[in-house]
């Protein structure tokens, strides 16, 4: 798996590859969407155990929906990351290493999470088996003044590089854009159109 999250001028851009594999040796699914909406201004990218991640996402959504029904507004991304980290720390979600991205009144945020409950804010981050390759690209190409269109190119480049060399990454890319206007996810089987 390769997942990346970037803050941009207008919000957050997240990208993920489409391959599910068994230990990087056998491709078990060639068309996986690894980014899921949690609430209209936030999404979670998953790496690690698929079952753990799916269960984690169900729990996160339930908490986010309850918060919204009770208070009439969605959680800030800080609050959502704290809630996610508390769930990971206390919960049975083994072997998931997610990236949380979202937009609120304070702008775009990206958080790296891990199963022990760590929650670290960042301007850009990558995770999964392809993370070293993706980070290499992001270190070269990321800057804080990227527009969404620029960030899409950078993220696609990062995921493409990882897909070339990491056996557990590949089969295409999903791009998720989160702005104050909402959240969209588009899948591409080829990288060419994005680069």
């Amino acid at each position: 798996t390769t997942i990346v999250g970037l803050t941009t001028q207008d919000g957050v851009l997240m990208a993920s590859d489409m391959r599910a594999s068994l230990g990087g040796r056998v491709i078990s699914n060639k068309n996986v969407q690894k980014v899921e909406e949690i609430q209209p201004n936030a999404a979670l990218s998953i790496s690690g155990s698929v079952g753990g991640a799916q269960s984690f996402i169900r729990s996160l959504r339930a908490e986010a929906n309850l918060y919204e029904a009770r208070r009439g507004e969605y959680m800030s991304i800080d609050a959502l990351s704290t809630m996610a980290s508390n769930l990971l720390r206390g919960g049975p979600f083994f072997r998931v290493v997610p990236i949380l991205g979202g937009v609120d009144d304070d702008g775009g945020h990206v958080f790296s999470l891990d199963p022990a409950g760590s929650s670290m804010s960042d301007t850009y981050t990558a995770q999964g088996s392809g993370m070293p390759y993706a980070l290499g690209v992001l270190e070269q190409e990321y800057s804080e003044d990227l527009t969404m269109a620029d960030a899409e190119q950078v993220a696609a480049h990062a995921v493409k590089s990882a897909s070339e060399r990491d056996t557990a990454s590949g089969n295409g890319i999903h791009i998720t854009k989160i702005t104050h206007d909402g959240l969209t996810t588009v899948g591409h089987k080829e990288f060419d159109a994005l680069l």
Partner: protein, 253 residues
């Protein structure tokens, strides 16, 4: 004297039937509902309308803090009549059940299923010792499989499905008005109009946008939303204009 004491004993514990088969505490809880301001539900093919009376005791009270309409889930809203604090407990129970359904099955909860789980919860408080029943009735409005549904719960834990219904004070008159005026082919706008006119029935002071709450579950989008005060006011203005027009007609005749 002895007889009177015995009679009184039947309303002490709610788990005790009176000799003629009544549960007095449950009946008293129904009285508590009647003391609450009215809430009205109208089902139309386009969606379900909830209208609540939130007239305030003082002009200094912030109207937005009066809780009579509640979002339960994306596709379900509820209106209450009776004890607000009791309503909050039931509403939160319903919200949690809605999310449990999504976690368990990844599906929005059915309105009937949700209502049944709420009424099962209410029923327990009519049978368990040391507790009192909920002094509140709810209207649960939602969309299930694209179909608008409207249910009522009462303090005994009974549920009923309605085309149009009122709970709370002045229920009798409002229900009669609904029965006379209801039409199965109403639009949502007509539904709001009908519910507001029903609420206006037998009222002394005029309706105002701040004094009512309007919630709509739209069948197409399957989402619940509440109208802002100025939106409600425009519906009230339309009713008043229509009333003025019909007065004019009377003059001409």
């Amino acid at each position: 004297m002895q007889g009177q004491n015995q009679q009184q004993a039947y309303d002490r514990g709610i788990t005790i039937f009176s000799p003629d088969g009544r549960l007095y505490q449950v009946e008293y809880a129904r009285e508590a509902v009647k003391r609450g301001t009215a809430s009205i539900g109208v089902r139309t093919p386009e969606g379900v309308v909830l209208v609540v009376d939130k007239q305030t005791r003082s002009p200094l009270l912030e109207g937005s803090s009066v809780e009579k309409l509640h979002k339960i889930d994306d596709h379900v809203g509820a209106a209450s009549a009776g004890h607000v604090a009791d309503a909050r407990q039931l509403v939160d129970f319903a919200r949690q059940q809605s999310q449990v359904e999504r976690v368990r099955y990844d599906e929005p909860i059915g309105v009937r299923t949700l209502t049944k789980s709420v009424t099962d919860h209410i029923q327990q408080y009519t049978q368990v010792g040391g507790a009192r029943p909920f002094g509140v009735a709810l209207l649960i409005a939602g969309v299930e499989g694209g179909e608008p549904r409207l249910f009522e719960t009462d303090p005994s834990g009974t549920s009923n499905e309605w085309k149009a219904v009122a709970i709370g004070s002045n229920r009798g008159d409002i229900q009669e008005f609904l029965e006379d005026e209801y039409d199965a082919g109403l639009s949502v706008d007509d539904g709001i109009d009908l519910a507001l006119r029903a609420l206006n029935e037998g009222r002394e002071d005029a309706l105002s946008g701040d004094g009512v709450g309007v919630g709509i579950v739209d069948a197409d989008t399957g989402t619940y939303r509440e109208l802002a005060a100025d939106e409600s006011q425009s519906y009230i203005d339309d009713i008043e204009d229509a009333a003025d027009d019909s007065d004019d007609d009377d003059d001409e005749e």
